[in-house]
Amino acid sequence: MLNVVDGISIWAVPILLGIIPVYGLLRGVPVYEVFVEGAEEGFKMAVMMIPFIVGILVALSVFEASGALDWVIARLAGPLSLVGVPAPVVPLMLVRPISGGAALGIATGLLQKYGPDSFVGRVASTLQSSTDTTFYVLTLYFGSVSIRRTRYALKVALLGDLAGFVAAVVICHALWG
């Protein structure tokens, strides 16, 4: 199983990088010219994202650096442990949708401290791999096309995250609890 997974992670990107041009060439596409033509958009798109990313990163860093995030985590640790969420995992849960880098840092810390094969380590691993950096994705995707009114997008995305969290905890309890 691990070999297969490892194989996919090592091979997936190079295979795509190989298959796409070869397939294009076989179909008579002037691949290099078409590549350059598509690639031109890369810079424009990245620049267009700047205001959206700066906006969200500044707000998140203020919330984190001020200690407000720690305060929220401290308030929620008690109630969440009642429903089966191990207390050490609570910060990971709260940070996961907000900051990919911070979540990765917390998950790494938990694995080192409690061991990857402990219950906490497994819940943390499952949580980390089950959900995405929702706020960031929303900002990036809408930002890249200058959408400012996002309607119910955040609600739907966060409901998905919540479902992922609950499922991760329930499944880990069923398997290893």
Binding site: V29, F43, D117, S129, F135, Y141, S144, R151, K155
Partner: protein, 216 residues
């Protein structure tokens, strides 16, 4: 809602900082984050350029169309309003497949391209998210993850005896997340149809007069 969340994060943080006497540090953090935002965005330039070039080849050669055809039965039901002859469905398929395989760096440019395709289906001056955009983002953030490669790598690094045993739980948890996101999306779609889908009544002017339209 994103407006409220943004203000709560910002003002909540500032109030806590003021109460705790850490205002100078927090101000410094905000300034650093602003610079970091630019760095993050510019850090995308290389990968975006590479994959957008690849995406164009895949599009022109018909590879994307084939992938889209493969996922078409599902995507057509989820995106009834997206015309089948646009690259939108193909780019969304590429994004979803790359996401499932844990290839974040390949997934993002396809996702952004798909957003552009969806954007081109609406009025350029309309800065409101279309229902298809929201469905796509819901699918994307709650995407089925078949290969949690980065976490497995973390577990190996931490000395796990069975680093891959979280694959099963991850697939189940992401399947649950995806299902809930799709159902919630359907429900909101039905509750809050987009202004365009509401019928033939003209849309009320949403931006104040005199304000220039959003840049394309």
């Amino acid at each position: 809602m994103i407006n409220v969340v943004w203000v709560v994060l910002l003002v909540g943080g500032l109030l806590v900082a003021a109460a705790g006497g850490t205002l100078p540090e927090v101000t410094q953090a905000a300034m650093t984050a602003a610079g970091k935002g630019v760095e993050v965005a510019l850090g995308f330039v290389g990968i975006m350029t590479l994959w957008l070039g690849m995406a164009r080849i895949a599009e022109r050669s018909g590879l994307m169309q084939q992938l889209a055809d493969l996922l078409a039965p599902v995507l057509r039901r989820l995106f009834p309003e997206v015309p089948h002859d646009t690259p939108a469905l193909g780019n969304m398929s590429m994004n979803l497949v790359a996401n499932m395989l844990g290839m974040g760096s390949a997934a993002t440019p396809f996702g952004l391209k798909a957003m552009q395709d969806l954007r081109s289906l609406q009025d350029p001056s309309d800065a409101t998210a279309s229902s298809s955009m929201i469905t796509f983002i819901a699918l994307n953030t709650a995407a089925l993850n078949l290969v949690p490669a980065s976490v497995i790598a973390l577990r190996v690094a931490a000395g796990s005896r069975s680093p891959a045993d979280i694959v099963g739980p991850t697939i189940m948890a992401t399947a649950a997340a995806m299902m809930v996101a799709v159902v919630a999306d359907r429900w909101y779609r039905w509750r809050q149809p987009s202004p365009r889908a509401r019928g033939k009544s003209p849309r009320p002017p949403q931006s104040p007069p005199g304000r220039p339209a959003a840049p394309p």
